[in-house]
Structure formats: structure tokens, C-alpha cells
Amino acid sequence: MRRLEFTLSLPGRPPLTWGDAVVLAAIGAALWLAARLAFHAPAVVRGPEISLAASALPWYAALSFLRMLAAYGLSLLFAVSYGLYAAHNRRAERVLLPLLDVLQSVPILSFLPVVLLSFTVILPAGVAVELASIVLIFTSQAWHLAFSTYQSARTVPRELMEAAAVFRFGGWFRFKYVELPFAALGLIWNSIMSWAGGWFFLMAAEMFTVGSRDFRLPGLGSYLQTAAHQGDTHALALGVVTLIGLIVALDQLVWRPLLAWAERFKVETVEGANSVSSWLRDLLARSLLVERFITQVWQPLMERLDRRWQDPAATVHFGETPARPSVTQRVLWGAVAVALVWGLLRLFDMLSALPPAAWVDIGRGLLATFLRVMAALLLAAAWTLPVGVAIGTRPRLAALLQPVAQVAASVPATALFPLVLLFFLRLPGGLDVSAVLLMMLGSQWYLLFNVIAGASAIPRDLHDTAALLGLTGWARWRTLYLPALFPYTVTGAITAVGGAWNASIVAEYVEFAGDTHATEGIGAVIARATEQGDFPLLAAATLVMVLTVVLTNRLFWLRLYRLAEARYRLE
């Protein structure tokens, strides 16, 4: 114990450090900002009209940020409970995992009418729209966080779980000391991805039309969208810059420090070479105030929680024999099943009322979007493969570019899209080209990061052998890079394709400078159906798209992935 305490009274240590100064300044600035935002908000910010004045931007940014934060908190809560429940309960797992797979491929606009309608029934309109927007953002964040939690929980080494059981960890301790730390790194990386996903759909989530009603919430997303509608490039540029500033600030002030701190949760038991560094984390680590907070507030609080929730008498069973579901559980599952059947019947009713012409529309749209998705994937592969290999095989370059690429990946393509459109709409077939471009912009990063990881995993020996054999150019690609990168490319492509399908709803149907531009595609069908309040069409198109995505995943991508794992995995 002596050892732990004397850090507080180390001789010769200054009473306050730079870290403390930063902490104090940050607290002060945050208070000032909060007060200012709360008491001095200009009237225009409260809507309903979106002001394009630069002075409104800080408020819009703050509101959007709070909305994202709320959605993210919700996502995290959902993901951890869903993921752990699926990992603990073998029976539930069989339903929950496929369900997650389906939910992941539902485009976010398709959730909109359901969410909005159910909220407007029980809540006043203003609150309902605000909540609907948060839930929409949630649907672009939650699913892969849940997958990540589930996978971490399932891969906790057996002996670690056994140690937890032998040392009589109750549910709370198992969560706090085993499952949460084990999931932490994956959760943080996926959180960064989730925020990127949230920004991508922010515009769609803050301003939408359902049927005859027009909803808009004050925020950065609606600011950008309004600027695009009015063709105001100046405001558009300002909005984009604000958004990028927000993303960079988040990266520096939240994600990097978190990642640096979470290094301790790396499971590999040897000291790793490449670690994330963060200036803020270093400053905070030296701050006495932070240390005080930890020892005086945080630790006593945790101590009380531990005391209340840890139950040494709880025996933890795991593995072999799943507990029989209790009566209440059976009733609950039964109710869910009945509701499902009823919902299916209603859906069937709704779909059978749809005119044949609509189905033809959907079919043609599906084909068009499918071709676009493939084009986007090929384009993305064409640039990410060479660039990824260039970065991945040069550790120095990787250290330099990786952080930049991570921030770049968080900048939503949707925000830049109107600027791109400005140029493309003048060309014949411009929307077609620009839709592919947006889909590529939205999905290329998954591919790039996987290719970089794959390229940096190629052993030195193979590079040397290739050099000794005199393999250069295409020959080297064919014998070394392409086979070695194959599993990584497939992994990246699976996520990228999912992203591209989802992006089609914002890429194929655009309002710009007062006009609506649409091209043929299932994304356009969904966007139009939402806007016109045509729910049967929306349901049908969504169903077709989800089925297509899930089936191609199962029948094509997963098989390809298994082949890649079996044949081309470098060990």
C-alpha cells in the first residue's frame, strides 16, 4: 500500500502541472460555452426555418453534437446489453444474431416512418421529431457495436472465465473485470466507425419529408441540406468546414486519448510495438486534479457500487448446459412470436395491395443499384489496393498517414456530395456517375484499412523472396500481394458493400438548388416512397433490398470469406 500512496506526496513535484492548467481551462471554457449557448441563442436557431448565417453555425453544431451524443449513448447501452445477452444465452443467440444481420442491412430511411409514427402517437410533435431523429442516428450506429460486443464476449479465453468463476465473481464483477475490459478496444474502434456512420446520415436524419409533412430540426445536418437546396456554395463550404473541425476536435480530444488509455486492454501478453499516442492523454496523466478525482471520487464510488452489486454467493454457470427458460421467459417469447406472426400477416396484406408496376420498378431499381454497388466496389478496390499496399509495407509512412486517414474516414461523404454534384449535374448521366462516386466515398475506407492491415501482415521473408526471384510489377502483385491480401480484401468488401447499399438511398435521389434529381435505383425508390408517404412501396422496396443484401452476404461473400480463410491465410 505504501507504494500506492506516496505518489501523492512525491518531493519536489510542483503543486500544479501543465495538465492541471489544461484541465482547469477546459472546465472553464466548457462552462462558458454552455452558458452562452443556453442563454444567448439567437431566435433563428429555434427554427423552424434554418438560417444560413455563419453566426448560427456554432449552435447548430452544438445541437447536432448533442443529438449524436444521445444517439450514441443509446447505441452503446443497446449494444452492450444485446451483445452480452446473445453471448450468454445460447437460445437467444440463435434468434438475435440473424436479426442483427437483417437490421444491419435495413436502410435508415426505412425506419423513419415507423419510428416517427409511433412517437407522434404518444408524444407532442416537437419531442417526437427530436426523438425520431435520435433513433434514426441510432440505427446507423448500434448494430456493429452490438456485433463487436458479442464477438469480444465470445472470445474471452476459457481459463479467464474459469478464473472468474473460481474466484466467485458475480455478474457485475464478471462484467466489470472480464467482459467490459475485453470488449473495450473493439468497442472504441467501432465507436469511431459508428460516429462516422452517424455523421454520414446526419443530413437525412435532421431534415426529412414524410408524406405531406415536412420535418426539420435545427442542426448542422439541416444547415448543410438547406444550403444545398438553395445552392448556396458559400454556406455549404462553411458548414463542411465546421463539420470537419468538429470531427478533428473529437478525434484529438476524445478518441485518441481513449485509444491511448485503452492500450492496457490489449490482450496480447507481450508488449506491443505500435501504440497510439495522444498529447491530451499524456497531459491528463500528469494532472494532479485528475488523480485527485480518481482517488477521491471515482474509486470510492466504484467501491460502493462493487459492495452493492458483487454477490460472492452467486455461482456462475457457463458453457455446456443452457438453463431451461422460465415460465415468464416462455410467455415473453410466445408474445414476441405472436406479434411477429401478426406483423407478417399485416405486411403480406400491405404487399399484396401493391400494383404490379411497382414491383417492376423495384426489380429494375434493384438491378441498377446492384450494378452501381459493384462499380463502386471495383473503383474503391482500384485505388485502395495500390495505396493500401504502399502504406502497409512502409511502417514509417503508415505511422504518418494512418491517423490522417482515420480522420478523413470520419468526414461524411454526404456533406461533400452537394459540392461534387455541382460539377457532375452539368454532365450527361451525371447523377449516375455521382451516385457511384458517393457510394464509393461512403464505403472505401473499410477496404482501405483492411488492405493496410493485410499488407503490413505480409512477412518480411516473402518480400525478400519476391525480390530475390526478381518478381516486379504485375508478377509481384499476382504471386504475392493479391493472394496475401485476399482474405483482408474480402473482409473489407463485405462491410463496404453493406455501406454502399445503404448509401444508395442518399445517392440516387437528391434535392439540389431547388430541383429534385433522381436516377433509377432501389435507393431512389425508397427515398421517394418515404417522401411521398407511400408505405406499401417503402415496405416492399425495403424488404427486397434487405433480402438481397442478406442473401448475397450468405451465399456469396461468406463463402468467399471461408475460401479466403482456408487458402490464403498467412500464418
Partner: protein, 423 residues
């Protein structure tokens, strides 16, 4: 039942599907004893330890602790794991402390106690280090400190020294023994699983010898030697030989050695996970010792411990190249021939003998009966699963490897098919 019995197992069995991991185990552990479980890998000794600790329920029979039936995790035990099972995100001190915290010990007391234990195992100075900063031996010291922290009546050790280098293992063994003999810990009995026979003879009061297929107890050997026990001592060596003889057994009849064929209902014997190419080196080594070698000495000469050697010895036994007797391995005439033969002749010898191994023969005949002499791997896995459970795939992989070695049959990785080599 003895009055002092801590643990008492009656007819305990464990099955995974059809596969018998343990069958009819009767075992008593008394207060004051240090008991070692030894046996070849796959004999279920770790499973037995987990049943006693209450981590895994027994499928059959009764487990009693201090006379009452055990349900769930045994609250009077702690385990030291082979892989340490430390929490990588907690410091040395926190790793020890968390075990006390989970039992609701309040902060001041638990920190003092954890610090005492860290001092006891000789890690003072490393309290704030994370496990990844420590060597294997130091990590296992944390494992011991954590286990001792909860003052278990029964301390379970699951191969605690096998992941350590030789020197660390030796010093840690010495320290454990010192604590145990001085009664410096409140522990009443120690149960240790090990594959290292010398280690068992050095530490144990009693050695329980187990065999596999199905996992069972063959017998017990009491170690009457006084501490400290010197490995070079004649009595020590004699005991090591005795345990080796008991563990390796005596080669039985052909039917006993080979077991039954798939689908016949007879008990199948698993193929040992070993590459047949190593048989050359083994037979040459024994031939150089005039055809008969002492197993402990052979293991030492090869620079491996018995675990590494056992599967190879079993393969030699299954293929009729050698037989076992009283802890010695003896070359058969065929084995003698094999040691001297050229590579092509060796392959022929193996091919002939492999067809006597029921599993291999069954695969070979199945392929012969097929029109194209090609059969999907899943066909075999499906039929082997009732026999071997989760190990079916692995057993097939070994069979394929053996078949390839002798040019009997081969495997097409892309089409997942086994096929006969047509010549």
C-alpha cells in the same frame, strides 16, 4: 469413507456426446495430502480437476466435498492455471486484490493482505506492473498469490509449471514446496495435474495414474520419500521408473492396441497427433541402444519431456514397431528392420501396418468402394462425430496425414475430397 476426506468421488464419469472423457472415477483426497494426477494427454486429468473444483458438472456419479454433495463452483478451492489466467488490464497488486474484493473484503484489509502475499511470493517492487511486463515465472507467482489470497482449503494446480522455462519452473516448485511443508498457508490439501513424472515424484505424497480412451484411473502410487528429494537419488529414480511403467503400461494384444472400427459399436482408439516421419529418428535412437531403451532416459536424451514423446511412442506401438514393458520401449523385429531401412522401404512397411489400424483401413476401404475413388471429407467427419465428438475433424486430419505419408490415399484441399492414389 475416511473421516478426514476433503474430496470424495464415487463412480464419476463425464461424457461429451458419445465420447467418454472420464469413466467410473473413484478418488479420495484427504486433509494434509499433496496429490498429483498424471497420465497421457487426453486422459481427462484436467477435466477431473475441473469437476472437483466445481467448474464442470460430472455427467455421472457423485462428487462430495467434506461429506456433502457439491453443486456449482466449490467455494473452498482456488485454481492456479497453466496459462496463468491473469487479468491483463489489472496490475500485479490488483490481480491479487480482486480475488479478495470479490469476497467482499473491505479495502484497507484487502490491500494489506494482497501486499503481504505479493511479498510472500517475492514480487515486491512489481506491485504496479502489468502482467505483460513480467516473465512467465513471475506471472505464475501472481497466479499463486491470487490463489492463496482466498485461503483455499483445497488448492488446485492445473499444470502450473508447464508453460515456464526449466529454471523458473524449478525455483517455483521449490518455493511452493517450502510454503507447503512449513504449513505457511492455510491450505489443507493440494491437487496438482501434471504430465511431468519427475515433477510428480518430487512433490507428491500420492500419485494417481490415469489412462485414456476412456479416461480412467489405473492405480495409485504412494511416494514415501522424505523431503528434500534429490532427483539423482536411486530411490527417486526407481520411483520415476515405476510411474513411467504405470503410465505407459504394457503393450497388450493387437485388439487392445488397435481398438474397434468406426460404426461397429466397439470403442475406437484415437490416433496420436504425431507426424510419422519422426518414427525414423525414434527407431534409430532405440536401435542404437541395442533395441531397448528406458523411457525417462530416452525422453531426456531427446531433450523433450514425456508429453512430447508419448504420442510418438504410441504411434510406434500402434504400428507394431515397438512395444512397452515396465517403463521401457523395446523394438520389435519389424521396428529393427525399419530403423535400418531406406526411405522407400520404410514407406512400404508403414503402408502395410497402417492397414491394420481400423480407422485408416475403414477410410481406405470406403475410398476403394467408391466409383471414382474420391469421397468428400464431410462423409467421414459425419461418421466419426458419434465416435470422437468435437475431435472428429482433428482425427480425420491425422488419418489423412498418415495416409499421405504412406501414399495410401491423399487429400484435395480445394474440393475437400479424399482420394486413392492411382498408380
Amino acid at each position: 469413507m475416511a473421516a478426514d476426506a476433503l474430496v470424495h468421488l464415487e463412480h464419476v464419469g463425464k461424457t461429451f456426446g458419445h465420447f467418454h472423457a472420464l469413466r467410473d472415477i473413484n478418488l479420495t483426497i484427504e486433509s494434509g495430502e499433496l496429490v498429483c494426477l498424471v497420465g497421457p494427454s487426453g486422459c481427462g486429468k484436467s477435466t477431473l480437476l475441473r469437476i472437483i473444483a466445481g467448474l464442470t458438472p460430472a455427467s455421472h456419479g457423485v462428487v462430495r466435498y467434506r461429506g456433502s454433495r457439491l453443486h456449482g463452483v466449490n467455494p473452498h478451492t482456488a485454481i492456479v492455471f497453466q496459462t496463468f489466467a491473469l487479468f491483463p488490464w489489472l496490475t500485479v497488486l490488483e490481480n491479487v486484490e480482486v480475488a479478495l474484493k470479490a469476497r467482499g473484503v473491505e479495502k484497507a484489509r484487502r490491500t494489506t493482505r494482497a501486499q503481504e502475499l505479493v511479498d510472500l511470493v517475492g514480487l515486491s517492487g512489481f506491485e504496479s506492473a502489468y502482467p505483460r511486463e513480467l516473465s512467465g515465472g513471475m506471472r505464475q507467482k501472481v497466479g499463486f498469490a491470487r490463489a492463496l489470497a482466498v485461503e483455499p482449503e483445497l488448492l488446485c494446480l492445473d499444470e502450473p509449471f508447464s508453460a515456464l522455462d526449466v529454471l523458473s519452473a524449478e525455483s517455483l516448485r521449490g518455493e511452493l514446496l517450502e510454503l507447503w511443508l512449513a504449513r505457511a498457508m492455510p491450505t489443507r490439501a493440494i491437487l496438482m495435474v501434471t504430465h511431468n513424472i519427475e515433477e510428480a515424484v518430487e512433490l507428491a505424497d500420492r500419485i494417481v495414474v490415469m489412462a485414456k480412451d476412456p479416461g480412467r484411473v489405473l492405480g495409485e502410487i504412494h511416494v514415501g520419500l522424505r523431503h528434500p528429494r534429490a532427483r539423482k537419488d536411486v530411490a527417486f529414480q526407481a520411483l520415476v521408473d515405476r510411474v513411467y511403467a504405470a503410465v505407459t503400461g504394457r503393450t497388450g494384444s493387437e485388439a487392445e492396441v488397435q481398438g474397434g472400427a468406426p460404426g461397429t459399436g466397439a470403442v475406437l482408439r484415437r490416433l496420436p497427433d504425431v507426424r510419422l516421419i519422426a518414427l525414423g529418428g525414434l527407431t534409430e535412437k532405440i536401435a542404437a541402444e541395442n533395441g531397448r531403451a528406458d523411457l525417462p532416459r530416452l525422453a531426456q536424451a531427446i531433450g523433450a519431456d514425456y508429453t512430447a514423446l508419448a504420442p510418438l511412442v504410441e504411434a510406434a506401438e500402434r504400428l507394431g514397431l515397438a512395444r512397452l514393458e515396465a517403463g521401457d520401449i523395446i523394438l520389435t523385429p519389424l521396428g529393427q528392420e525399419y530403423a535400418e531401412a531406406s526411405i522407400p522401404v520404410r514407406k512400404e512397411i508403414i503402408a502395410g501396418r497402417l492397414l491394420r489400424v481400423p480407422l485408416i483401413r475403414w477410410i481406405y476401404e470406403t475410398l476403394q468402394q467408391d466409383d471414382n475413388q474420391r469421397v468428400d471429407r464431410d462423409y467421414f467427419v459425419e461418421r466419426l462425430t458419434p465416435e470422437f465428438g468435437a475431435e472428429a475433424e482433428h482425427q480425420l486430419d491425422i488419418a489423412v496425414d498418415w495416409g499421405r505419408f504412406a501414399d495410401l490415399f491423399a487429400y484435395d484441399h480445394d474440393s475437400h475430397e479424399l482420394y486413392l492414389e492411382s498408380d
